[in-house]
Structures are given as C-alpha cells and as structure tokens.
C-alpha cells in the first residue's frame, strides 16, 4: 500500500468529495424537486409532497412511455444477448479471414454518434424498406437499439471465454456429454455471470437512449426519455418531468449496479 502523509490524504479526500458533489448535486436536486409541492421547480423547496408522483402514476402518456421504454430495452437486450454471445463464440472458437475487421465492426456502433446511427436507420427504413413494402415500425426501433447494445454482451462474454480453461469442455466430452449437453452443463454456467452482467448493461444503455430513438420511434410512440425531451419545454410540467427523470435514473442505475456486483462476484469465484 502506498504511504501518504496526512495532509496529502486530506487534500485527496477533499478533491474526491468536491468531484462527487459536483457530479451528483444536480441529480440530487432533481430527485428532491420531484417531491416539490409547487408546479414549478424552485429552490428552496417550500413544501414537500408526493403529489406529482401520484399524478405521474395515473397519467396515461407516462404509463405508455414507461411501458414502451421497458419493451424496447427488453427487446434490444434479448437480441443483443443472443447475437453478442454468438459473436463471442465465433471470435473465440475460430480463426478466419478478416477476423479483426469483424471484431471492429461489432464494437463500432457504440462509438458511432447516435445521430449518425439514427439518421442511417431512419433513411434505411423510410427510403428502402418502406418502398419495398416492409414496415418495421416499433420493431425497427428495437433493432436500432440492439446494434449498439450487442457490444456490451459481446465484450463481457468474450473476455470470460478467453479466460476459460479449454480442457473443461474436453473433460465434459470425455465423460460422455454431447455438444448441447456440454454447453448447457459446463460452458454456459462458466460464463452466465458475465452474460447477465452484459445483458443488464445492454438494458440500461437502451433504456436511457434518446437520439437514436428520436429517429426510429414510430409516430406517436414515446419512450420515457423521449417524453421528457418533449415536455421539458413546457414550464408547467416541470415537476412531473422531475418525477419521470427520477424513474429513468433508477431504472438505469439499478441494472448497472447489479451488473457491477455480478462482475465482482465472479472475480471472487475464481
């Protein structure tokens, strides 16, 4: 362990404290304001109430938006989990021409600006698929989200597969297990923690996405972030927006937190 003087230690703690306050004060104010009695956010908060929470709970557009967000994030997570895992197995198990290029192509969508992805999908859907009679609609939004979620599952599963002892699969076959049995009983249990961690990150990533959603959401369909974006301009909705924003924070943070815990649990397993 590095030894540092008490003064240095105090300064370091002060810096970290300042950074944390800097990062989290706005979120904290937002969450507090969701309990503000008044229609308009303000400081100091004069009286607290759960009035806007109750309002939001029964307000149909918000309920629809929440349902959409959960559906889209779940759909994107499922597609990303399957494709990301398959990619990881292909990259781990086989050597083929253009392997490193394929690797980059899998990772690229997360690095692409959302607006580029959004425009690209929007163009493809309205200029190519629609004229050909294929209207993806809602599913198109899920597919667009899945493109940048794949990398989350891929990275997690691939890293785990690379560390896996190859003789485990041989031992399984040696003891009489067929390919599917080996996958189910030996291989999958070895990477299921990474798989779950990656899937949760994919869910979180899709849940708070807004730019790609703008371009690919069918007319009249809002996700929670999209609803916030539309309502934030109307001053008398401010407190409801704070409620919805708090929900988005929670539903994004919880998967990330669980995912971190899973990753740590796996570290300890070995």
């Amino acid at each position: 362990m590095l030894r540092i003087s008490r003064l240095t230690k105090a300064i370091l703690i002060a810096i970290v404290g300042f950074l944390l306050i800097f990062m989290y004060t706005p979120l904290f104010v937002l969450i507090l304001n969701s309990f503000n009695e008044s229609q308009i956010s303000g400081w100091p908060i004069e009286s607290f109430s759960t009035k806007w929470w109750a309002f939001a709970k029964d307000y149909q557009p918000i309920r629809d938006a929440l349902l959409n967000s959960v559906l889209v994030a779940t759909g994107a997570m499922i597609i990303a989990s399957i494709l990301g895992t398959l990619f990881a197995f292909a990259m781990k198990g086989f050597d083929f021409f253009g392997k490193s290029t394929v690797n980059i192509l899998i990772v690229l969508p997360i690095a692409l600006p959302g607006i580029v992805t959004g425009v690209a999908f929007s163009n493809t859907y309205s200029n190519f698929l629609s004229p050909a009679g294929i209207n993806l609609g809602y599913f198109g939004m899920i597919v667009a989200h899945a493109t940048f979620c794949i990398v989350m599952v891929f990275n997690n599963v691939f890293a785990r597969l690379k560390r896996m002892n190859p003789s485990l699969q041989e031992a399984s076959a040696d003891l009489g297990a067929g390919l599917w049995q080996t996958f189910r009983l030996v291989t999958f249990p070895q990477f299921r923690t990474s798989f779950a961690a990656g899937a949760l990150l994919a869910f979180a990533l899709s849940f708070d996405e807004v730019v790609v959603t703008i371009f690919t959401a069918p007319p009249g369909v809002d996700t929670l972030p999209l609803w916030i974006l539309k309502e934030v301009g109307r001053p008398n909705q401010a407190s409801v927006v704070n409620v919805v924003a708090t929900v988005v924070i929670l539903l994004s943070l919880i998967p990330v937190y669980v995912s971190q815990r899973l990753a740590r649990a796996q570290e300890e397993e070995r």
Partner: protein, 340 residues
C-alpha cells in the same frame, strides 16, 4: 489381439509433424507409459486416442472397433487431465456424477456410485465442497475418481502428477499402480519423467520428434537402448562411438555403458577375462549422498562418468580423488551396443 491397435498414426500442426507414423499395440490390463521430452508427440498420441485431435492419417482401434474419427463422447476411454479439469461450479460429488449423468444413470444410483468412488480415493468428507476448496493432491484423486467411476476399458493419464510436489508424487505413483492392478484397467500414462515411467510401467514407449524410438519393459529400455536418444534420455549413459569406440573395442560402433556399471580400480590392478578396461585419470570426484560420481579422462582423451554407491562404513572409504591414476573396468556384457 491387442486391446488398442494404433497403425501408422500421423498428425501435423501447420508444418510441424507432431506425430509421425506411429504404430503401437497395447494389451488389455497393461500399464503403458508414453515417455519423451516436451514436443515429442506423446501427448498428441494420447489426445488422438481420447478423440480430442483428429489424426491426419493412420488408424486407432479399440477392441477391434475402428475409433479413429469417433467424437470423444462415443469412446469407451476416459481421461485424467494434467490440470485435472474439474468443473469449478459443481461440487465434488456432482463432478464425479457427471459421467453417470450423461449416461442417464438414475439419480439415486449415480449418487451411490459417485460416493463409493469418492470413498475409494479416501475423500468422503469433501463430497459437498467445490474444487477450489481442495488441495492439488485431493483434486488429482477426484479427477481419478471421476474417470474411474465409469469403469472405462482404458484410462488415459496426461502427466497427472506433474503439478504435485515430490513426496506427494511418489505416494500417488504407488497408489495409481495399485488402483490399476486392482481394477484391471488398461492405463496409458504420459510423462516426461523417466524415473516415474520406469517405476510404474509394464512397458515404456519412448518418443522423440514425433516418432517411436523404442518400446519395451523398463529393463529392456534401460539396459538395451535401441537408439542413442533412448540411451541418453533414460538415466545417465556413457556413449562411445566412432574413433573412441574403435580405440577400445577395436572397431567402430556405438556403445552405451551406464556409469553405475563401471568401477574404478588402482591403475596396476588385475581384471578378469570377461571384463574390459581403460586407464584414466580422475578429474573430479563429487559426493552426492548415496553415490559418488567420478569424471575421468581416459588415455584416449575422451571423458567417462563413473558412479559408485557409497556402501562403505565411515572412515573405511577407499575412494579416489582428483589426479589419481585409475583403471576404469566394466563387465563385457554391460557394454550395450546400439544398432546404428
């Protein structure tokens, strides 16, 4: 008919011929060791018998059935891996039950058999633990139990004792041999440790550069090495060839004489009719506990190693020291001629 018949087996990785035209018969109930340095092809042969590698050419048959290209799960052989390959997420009992489970043995029956197998390696108390909670030696025994519970016709062991410390390794050598005798299963054992090979095996197959150099009992391989490589790989050897051999034996040939089969005598002493000798000067005498190892330079210029067992009582040792003139003597039958 041999239990396993290997015919002209070959396998290359890229341009490297890992296994090159290997033919071998292995009898039922035999303890046979594939011995060789790393990269000699011994492990690749084992992996082809197990089904983990597909041969490029040749065939393998088990009890008359051609298994050359069968997948591992369709062969009546089981493997003990070098790193044990216990499934880390399963308890010891689940690990040992695994093979019974894939064979669809009913739950109660397989638990009974697994617990018996665990008891047979004296680790009953570990049944509910996970592999990482066991020591290396314990994991080794569980790996053995997991393979033996299936009562295979052939057990393949890939350097199973390599990761154990010396004392534990010697205990396991004795135990493995006992298990093999009791169960009457054919063991095919891979090692690079020549002492281990000689201690345990009925027969040894010496590998070098993908080829079989010699097959024989430990005594055969040690006393009558078929090649220079075998003479040098198993134990220490004085190998005389070319001009050096001509000066001693009168004609050019290759001869191997073990250091412990030679002795030193005072330079003016007599030898019997069926012995040969060469005069030499002691260069170095090293005491290594049970033995003293001498390096002597002969009158013809080449050096020999001579080893003497230290059987004398303290203070009665008539040993030689560096600089002494001596006669190196050996019985003629101890000079093993190596076919060219």
């Amino acid at each position: 008919m041999a239990l396993i018949e290997i015919r002209n087996l070959a396998k290359a990785f890229g341009t490297v011929k890992a296994v090159d035209d290997v033919t071998l018969d292995i009898g039922s109930g035999e303890f046979i060791t594939l011995l060789g340095p790393s990269g000699s092809g011994k492990t690749t042969v084992l992996r082809m018998i197990a089904g983990f590698e597909d041969p490029d050419a040749g065939s393998i048959s088990l009890a008359g059935e051609d298994i050359t290209h069968l997948p591992p799960f369709d062969r009546d052989v089981n493997t003990v891996f070098q790193d044990y390959a216990l499934f880390p997420h399963m308890t010891i009992q689940e690990n040992v039950e695994y093979g019974l489970r894939t064979r669809k043995v009913p739950k109660v029956e397989r638990a009974k058999q697994a617990l018996d197998a665990i008891a047979s390696v004296k680790l009953e108390q570990t049944a509910d633990r996970l592999p990482h909670q066991l020591s290396g030696g314990q994991r080794q025994r569980i790996a053995l139990a997991r393979a033996l519970v299936l009562r295979p016709r052939v057990l393949l062991l890939d350097e199973p004792l390599g990761a154990l410390d010396r004392q534990l390794r010697e205990e396991m050598q004795i135990e493995l041999k006992k298990i093999q005798r009791d169960a009457g299963i054919t063991f095919i054992f891979v090692t690079h440790d020549q002492e281990e090979a000689m201690r345990m095996s009925d027969r040894i197959v010496v590998f070098n550069e993908g080829k079989v150099e010699q097959v024989g009992t430990p005594q055969d391989v040690y006393n009558k090495p078929a090649t220079r490589f075998v003479a040098g790989f198993l134990g220490a050897a004085n190998i005389l060839s070319g001009e050096d051999a001509k000066k001693i034996f009168g004609k050019s040939k290759t001869v191997s004489i073990r250091p412990e089969r030679m002795r030193l005598q005072p330079s003016n002493s007599k030898i019997s009719n069926d012995e040969s000798s060469v005069s030499a000067v002691v260069q170095e005498a090293a005491f290594v506990g049970a033995n003293t190892v001498y390096i002597v330079e002969t009158e013809f210029g080449f050096r020999l190693n001579v080893s003497k067992t230290n059987t004398e009582l303290l203070g009665q040792d008539k040993s030689f020291a560096a600089g002494d003139r001596v006669l190196v003597v050996w019985h003629n039958s101890q000079a093993a001629e190596i076919p060219a």
